[in-house]
């Protein structure tokens, strides 16, 4: 079993707001992130896949194919978007880094043909990241 990690970047805006909370609760729980005008980040995404090395190609995964999947499923959908307003998963869910990692996992999960998805790591900032392994 070999693990391969591919890295890419996207930039997006978001805010945190739960309509079930009062304005005071939203402000207390989400702090500056509750500003409804939104703010943005340069996100770094690391996708790790795992699998046996194909003896004919020496590959765990065709990187060209992985790159195309990442571009199509993640970058085109999220890059230079407002997550709350333009990305279906976040019309009803708060676009925290936790939920972003889960959404990206779900977007990628059934798209890989050979290797298996192992981990999605999303950096919101260089000092803050979330890992999701598909655990329930």
């Amino acid at each position: 079993m070999v693990y391969l990690t591919r890295k890419c970047e996207f930039s997006a805006s978001h805010y945190y707001h739960n309509p079930e909370f009062t304005d005071e609760e939203n402000a207390r729980i989400f702090g500056k992130c509750a500003n409804l005008n939104g703010h943005g980040h340069n996100y770094t995404l690391e996708v790790t896949v795992k699998g046996d090395v194909d003896s004919r190609t020496g590959f765990v995964v065709d990187l060209k194919e992985l790159k195309e999947i990442l571009n199509r499923e993640v970058i085109e959908a999220l890059d230079h978007r407002h997550l709350n307003k333009e990305v279906p998963e976040f019309l009803t869910r708060i676009p925290t880094t936790e939920n972003l990692a889960i959404a990206i996992w779900n977007r990628l999960q059934n798209k890989l043909t050979r290797a298996k998805l192992h981990r999605v790591r999303v950096y919101e900032l260089p000092d803050l990241f979330v890992d999701f392994y598909g655990e329930p």
């Binding site: 945190y16 079930e20 925290t96 936790e98 000092d127 803050l128 979330v130 890992d131 392994y133």
Partner: protein, 134 residues
Amino acid sequence: MKAHLTRRYIFSASHRLHSDALSEDENRATYGKCNNPYGHGHNYALEVTVSGQVNPQTGMVCNLVDLDDAVRREVLERFDHENLNQRQEFAVAVPTTENLSAVIFNILKQSFTAAHLERIRLEETMMNSFEYAG
């Protein structure tokens, strides 16, 4: 859904690696430059990883403000700009980064209970890092 959240912090401290259980020669042979009598310092980078179910109401494993407060109060205020050898945590133990990792993990395990403490990772320099998960 269970997610892992990691936050990175920086603190600076000095130390000297010296064991009372070893002779002067053995200390020098074991610790090399790190045994120099007046100590030296590092910019440590601490990564704290917590895990838990993502709260459906907040979208969070835990509130980052609470984690930041706990790490600042319990770890950074304790060790930042301090001489580790003078701290009571290292009255007996040698302040290697192995031992410092275990000390920090155990402090956070006690003081931060809003999510499960998965592990900590401590970089002593860009070249050395240590992980401790209890």
